[in-house]
Symmetry: C2
């Protein structure tokens, strides 16, 4: 009989291997109603479960905005009252294999990317990126925000749907995300808070298919312009890919690897592979970083968003060393970026087989966060993140870095000990 330790090693090896061998491919676009069978007045949100009462400003703002977008309410006040009365259901994105950056709010008629993990057969989803600044995911809900969301539903989504259909006709399989992320990691992206290369690679790859679609030129022009003007266009696809990877690593008995890290603006929460869909949570910390003009740390909401799924899958903050130019966006120095990556090797199980850091002599990125190693070393996962204003309605006020709280890892290890009696 193998020792407990051997059993855990084997489980983690299997878990991380499934993560790295996952093959997420973007295959379709559809509304949340179509793809996730969302019905009625329900919204998905990033992070662990939460109700309106405990929801932070940016999540409240996004709930208000989504209610206006869905025309459940005519004014922000009305939306707020509906939410207070419990007339708007809240559920976690991760419970539907979906992810969304920041507030991560997904409403039934919002368009989603659909990805298929060709290796494991699962499907994952994300919403579409609106750009930076005053946008729903940062809690803004002004008329311009709602108008942009409507345009995304009526122009961007049909263009992307027609585009991916053309791509599938040509290749038989859609747009593969892992090679795109791997390449972007050799092009100065860590593919969480810097997506300049990923977005460029995405656009150049889809453009021929946009042109091949029979759609109206004005729609195509608007969509191409919108995608080009936003360096975060590819983020949501990358997150859905990371969700596919970490989902593949999930539910491996005895595995101590983290398969979800996420925050809802109030709590930070994780899943551990062998502990099912049980959330281990603790208060979300406030990120440190660089502030947009006129804002400071005093305005910042605690950490929010599903985007830490990128770090969970071995890139983002864990790959900081490959993205030195990011320090102009999130703060810190080039040396500190390298140190972050080097530190992450101490709490991960493997070096990624496909995601490499040219500057570290093509070393694989630190992949597969092991709760045992976190407890043993005291080193916490490093996340790159956007920063939302703590008040509903304002939007993004900066970008920076944040650690995940030790408490969630301690609690999950206790859960592990309880379950496996070790």
């Amino acid at each position: 009989m193998p020792s407990i330790k051997e059993e855990v090693e084997e489980a983690n090896s299997k878990s991380v291997s499934r993560m790295m061998e996952s093959e997420p491919v973007w295959i379709d676009v559809g509304t949340a109603e179509e793809k996730l069978s969302m019905k009625g007045r329900t919204l998905l949100h990033a992070g662990p479960p939460i109700d309106w009462k405990r929801a932070s400003g940016p999540l409240r703002g996004a709930v208000i905005g989504a209610s206006l977008y869905e025309e459940w309410a005519e004014t922000p006040g009305e939306a707020e009252r509906m939410a207070e009365r419990g007339e708007i259901g809240l559920d976690c994105t991760h419970h539907h294999n979906a992810v969304g950056p920041m507030a991560g709010v997904i409403s039934p008629s919002m368009p989603l990317y659909e990805l298929m993990d060709e290796k494991h057969g699962t499907r994952t989803y994300s919403n579409m990126n609106e750009g930076i600044g005053k946008v729903l995911r940062y809690g803004a809900y002004g008329e311009d925000v709602i108008e942009r969301l409507k345009w995304m539903g009526s122009v961007l989504a049909p263009v992307l749907k027609a585009t991916i259909e053309e791509a599938r006709k040509e290749s038989g399989r859609g747009i593969s995300l892992k090679p795109m992320i791997a390449q972007a990691l050799t092009m100065g992206d860590e593919a969480h808070n810097r997506n300049n290369a990923t977005t460029s690679l995405l656009i150049r790859q889809v453009v021929p298919f946009m042109l091949k679609s029979g759609l109206d030129r004005k729609m195509l022009f608007e969509a191409a312009k919108f995608m080009n003007e936003n360096n975060f266009t590819a983020l949501n696809l990358g997150m859905a890919a990371a969700k596919a990877m970490s989902l593949a690593a999930h539910d491996v008995p005895h595995s101590t690897l983290v398969t979800v890290m996420s925050r809802n603006g109030t709590d930070a929460g994780i899943w551990v592979s062998s502990l099912g869909n049980r959330w281990y949570t603790a208060p979300a910390p406030v990120p440190r970083g660089l502030w947009f003009p006129g804002f400071s740390e005093a305005d910042a909401n605690p950490d929010i968003g599903d985007s830490a799924i990128t770090e969970t899958a071995g890139f983002g903050g864990f790959a900081m060393a490959t993205a030195p130019a990011i320090v102009a966006w999130v703060g810190g120095s080039v040396q500190s970026a390298i140190e972050v990556t080097n530190r992450m090797y101490e709490i991960t199980y493997a070096k990624h087989k496909y995601f490499q850091i040219p500057f570290l002599n093509f070393k694989g990125t630190p992949t597969g966060i092991d709760i045992r190693k976190i407890l043993k070393t005291g080193i916490l996962p490093a996340i790159n993140t956007g920063i939302a204003h703590k008040k509903a309605g304002v939007g993004q006020i900066g970008a920076g870095t944040v650690s995940f709280p030790m408490e969630v890892f301690r609690a999950s290890l206790k859960g592990y000990v309880d379950k496996y009696g070790v």
Copy 2:
């Protein structure tokens, strides 16, 4: 009266400043006949002047191919005999402010990019990139090569012309190259032998304008597909931009900075800012590098092409440290790439104001090659380059690195001493 040394310092400072402040903008597309008033059976070629007799295999191959493309000859043999009889004139690209990678052959009906230096008012030109492998610039002239060139003239060029016209309508000025190169240098390109980011940035920037043009969708699709499938698409535009920059640095009295480095496959040659259009030449060395399957150094032609204009302008091989992934294409190690850049600081006059290397804490690239420093240190400029088969008709067989021969710098310093009597 300033000392000679002060005069030289001032001249070099002015020269390098003009280089860095140059603002090359892509403004038009047209044939060499239209843009350079090329007439009759004349071809431009890369590097210093040369005649058919001394021309290397790849240059001969490109001359043959261009003659077939122009329908001056019906067979390679006929083209060869015409060239032997002196019926095909050869002139240097640099004599027309044009540049072309490898053989750099430009014939009258070939389409060119036209750039305007908004700062200094000069115009520079380059041909369009065909991709890698069996292509004219590497000396191949098979039917597929000629067919591709015809397609480039009849589809790619009109698409790019319509695109740049739309871009000018929108912005009033065309597509600015310096910011694109600067950004690509933060994305793992050195923008000579690795243009993955530059090409991606170019495509995403022009796509909305391609869509806005009234052109046939099939043409647009073909052009977008062709550009996307070739990571060297942006190289030629970058070279024309580098030509604009180095041209701005040229003709500054007393300046000891190099303003052209180029090779024709037989000779390597340079210009020095204060020494006019006088070529200083020496035999071109054979590059070292990585070989395509089935080829080796024994098959390699001596160094060829105008693309060393990128190093002349402070990027390419001089910026190796920012492009660690390039070692998979040209050979060497990540550490050696960093060392190359560090060594180039010893023979250059300035750190570039706009081109930065994030990994070296955003240090400017080594810019403005000073012949005095080369003679003093014995360090030779490091060039990244493609490698052509030495026989006409074969094409690209690898990629690697090469130094410029010391002899040309020694000869130019002698020329400088003769002229200025110092």
